[in-house]
Symmetry: C2
Subunit: 208 residues, 2 copies
DNA sequence: ATCGTAGTTGTACTTCCAGTACAAACCATG
DNA sequence: CATGGTTTGTACTGGAAGTACAACTACGAT
């Protein structure tokens, strides 16, 4: 499995729609061959099999997201603003590639062993976000939280499920508008929380 | 596919571990038969195939979560407290059944068509949470948000990814302690947000 | 211009496994 | 003990993933 030539890579995207629709299971290699225009033999020459198609797509999406988030996180703004930008960046990429997202939720396990995925996500997300949290504490734009790792994870979850749901509900006419709408909602939640100031004290009321 | 006898149902759980480990792909029906002690022919007598095994497990997990969340949401407390309870309820169930969770993320698409899943989740989660949000506004314990649907979704995402990650990272010695730890982190995020009061004004600084 | 290397593709083949068929046992319950 | 649902072993079928391989192309190096 050397590094796939660019032309083939771009053709492979034609498979995403298909897989998103029918699932990897319901998609024969021959179907993929037909849809992408890459003959089966060629696919097997470059890729290690059906799952590798998905692996490739997953890797690509992850790269895109990581790239966009990386840019968002690297600006000069305060941490809070950069966090907002990161939210928007991830949602932007996801909504631009809804079928990729759909294909992947359905067959994640075919694309990667879950542990590898977790590791990849860790470097692509938690670490940036965790660092952002730390920087936010320094620059005073974000609160200190008890468990930054878990919080970073939850933030990622909030963004991701919003994006996924948008991808699963039919594709929208204006992805970037959707992205903006969802970003606003997610940012509102993640930054300001849901509690009213008044209720804030009775926090540790129940014993657990 | 009539209604599976209880004994078989319980035996089927033995398959979750297996599927979690190897993925549904890497798990032959014969493996499942061996692991559960249910002979292949019997499996096919009751279930419509390999995917149906997963469907059954998914349905069950969903029911457990929906049940627990339902109870949490139904108490007499204010909405804010009930939201916290809901978080803890979902995480509790997930961490009690880590291999079920792992099996499912990996092969979601095999268990359900994604749209059906979305629909099931909608009734099991967004609706309760959305209602909670509304009630919180009434009883003054939660803020009014612009897009309750999207926010409910994000809350669900935050909880779910936290739980999933816990399930994927090896199983813990004390699931309920983990649940408590994650609940605290998620609740902190979801209720209080990350922003400092000071940074709250410069909100809509960037365009779009 | 030719040789070697890497990629491309069609075709035919093998392998493996999900799912099926079916018959024989196994229970209940009347 | 007869009937009807269940249980299970065994043997079989079908279909799709992946492999083998040979013919062909493109092209850079010598």
């Amino acid at each position: 499995m050397r590094k796939l030539p660019a032309k083939l890579a771009s053709q492979l995207y034609g498979a995403a729609e298909l897989i998103a629709e029918r699932g990897l299971d319901g998609t024969k290699i021959e179907d993929i061959a037909e849809a992408t225009g890459i003959p089966k033999a060629t696919i097997y020459y470059h890729l290690d099999g059906k799952n590798a198609v998905l692996e490739f797509l997953l890797g690509d999406l992850l790269d895109m997201i990581a790239g966009a988030v990386g840019v968002a996180v690297a600006s000069e703004e305060n941490a809070r603003t950069r966090l907002e930008a990161a939210v928007q960046a991830q949602l932007g990429v996801m909504l631009e590639h809804p079928s990729l997202c759909r294909a992947l939720v359905g067959d994640l396990g075919r694309a990667t062993r879950l542990l590898e995925l977790a590791a990849a996500l860790r470097t692509a997300f938690y670490e940036p976000i965790e660092q952002l949290l730390a920087e936010g504490v320094s620059d005073g734009s974000l609160r200190q939280v008890a468990d930054p790792g878990a919080v970073a994870l939850s933030v990622f979850g909030a963004i991701t499920l919003a994006g996924l749901s948008a991808a699963v509900e039919g594709p929208s006419a204006d992805p970037s508008a959707d992205a903006a709408r969802f970003s606003a909602a997610v940012s509102e939640l993640v930054l300001d929380g849901l509690a009213t100031p008044g209720s804030r004290d009775q926090r540790r009321s129940e014993p657990l």
